[in-house]
């Protein structure tokens, strides 16, 4: 419950404060968001399977975001940032889909 409320609070804060994204963060923020979504979906799946662990979630969330950002940063340095960020988004998208499928099986038994 509390995490859901926190998510809502974050959304409201974003809507109210209307911050602008710093230029240095601009390439990384979308990737970071997708990576975090991956961690969240993984957490929901683990919760449903009864193997959720707070610490694991925190570490995976942070490391997901950092690794995604690092990969994109490396790609930028190597001149393949665009392609690499596409690759990261694809991989994370696949993971989100598989997690969502697992959640669906758990919730709807289908």
């Amino acid at each position: 419950m509390i995490p859901a409320l926190a998510l809502v609070v974050g959304v409201v804060l974003g809507l109210v404060l209307e911050p602008t994204v710093p230029g240095a963060l601009q390439p990384y923020l979308p990737i970071a968001v997708v990576a975090a979504l991956d961690a969240v979906f993984g957490a929901i799946r683990a919760q449903l399977e009864g193997i959720f662990d707070d610490r694991v979630f925190v570490v995976s969330f942070v490391s997901n975001v950092l690794v995604a950002g690092l990969v994109v940063f490396l790609g930028d340095q190597l001149g393949v940032g665009g392609q690499l960020s596409t690759g990261v988004v694809v991989v994370l998208g696949i993971r989100i889909f598989s997690n969502a499928a697992a959640i669906r099986r758990r919730v709807f038994h289908a």
Binding site: L7, V11, G14, E18, Q26, G79
Partner: protein, 259 residues
């Protein structure tokens, strides 16, 4: 069956620990970041979210397109300039063609002519003046530079020559033929004329007058036949008899060399 239920309960049941706060903070950050990113994408359009290399590529494409359009603009400008000068040229050519048509019309007798010249009135009381005399007179006038000639007859001599209403008038051109008339007089290009005749001539009046008046010339010739030849120089005479141009049946313009 119990496991997912317990999972849901654990998900929904609040248990405050430090790690829970961390989870909550992370999720808040996620929501915040997601909203910020969505807003940034919506507000700034596609370019703001684009990467530097993509921007460079877009810029390159724009520069290329700019160059192409610039080239197109200069080509079109050139075409326009060419067309406008071409228009001037064709206008000038048209004016020149009109001018030449007028000049040729004077020669061919299809347009009226006006200018300095003289009136040569020939009377023939004894009916002894035939086409040969008039032809001589015509040749004399042509040789003296007559530019437009018409032959009238019979001329009413009772009124002033300038207003004298002629009987019939014929424009004299290159193909003009003078023939003895069946019932007297002469036939000029199919038109019957009777004495007294009058030539209306546009040209240098002094030259024409002296050409007509030379000893043994037209005037002498006419007077030998007991006629009279009256030469009147005018500042302006009007040759207004016209003829219809016939389309040549056989002759076609041949291409000129070097044209």
């Amino acid at each position: 069956m119990t496991e997912p239920t317990r999972g849901w309960r654990r998900l929904l049941a609040p248990r405050l620990r430090r790690v829970d706060l961390a989870v909550a903070a992370l999720l808040a950050v996620l929501g915040f970041a997601a909203v910020v990113q969505v807003r940034a994408t919506q507000e700034d359009g596609p370019l703001a979210a684009a990467r530097q290399e993509d921007l460079v590529q877009i810029l390159d494409e724009l520069a290329n397109r700019n160059d192409r359009l610039r080239a197109e603009v200069s080509a079109l400008n050139q075409a326009r300039a060419e067309l406008s000068t071409g228009g001037d040229r064709s206008e000038a050519a048209l004016a020149e063609a009109r001018r030449r048509a007028q000049l040729l019309g004077v020669l061919a007798g299809t347009v009226p002519a006006r200018g300095p010249g003289l009136l040569l009135t020939i009377t023939d009381p004894e009916d002894r003046i035939g086409p040969d005399v008039l032809l001589d007179a015509l040749e004399e006038l042509r040789a003296a530079g007559a530019e437009a000639i018409q032959l009238e007859g019979p001329v009413d001599l009772s009124v002033d020559a300038a207003q004298a209403s002629a009987g019939d008038r014929v424009r004299v051109v290159a193909s003009t033929a003078l023939v003895q008339g069946d019932e007297g007089g002469i036939v000029v290009d199919g038109v019957q004329l009777y004495a007294p005749y009058r030539f209306v001539v546009v040209g240098d009046s002094d030259t024409l007058a002296s050409a007509v008046g030379i000893p043994g010339g037209v005037v002498d010739n006419v007077e030998q036949r007991n006629g009279s030849a009256l030469v009147e120089q005018r500042d302006e005479v009007t040759v207004d008899a016209l003829r219809v141009l016939k389309e040549p049946r056989y002759a076609r313009p041949a291409p000129e060399d070097g044209d």
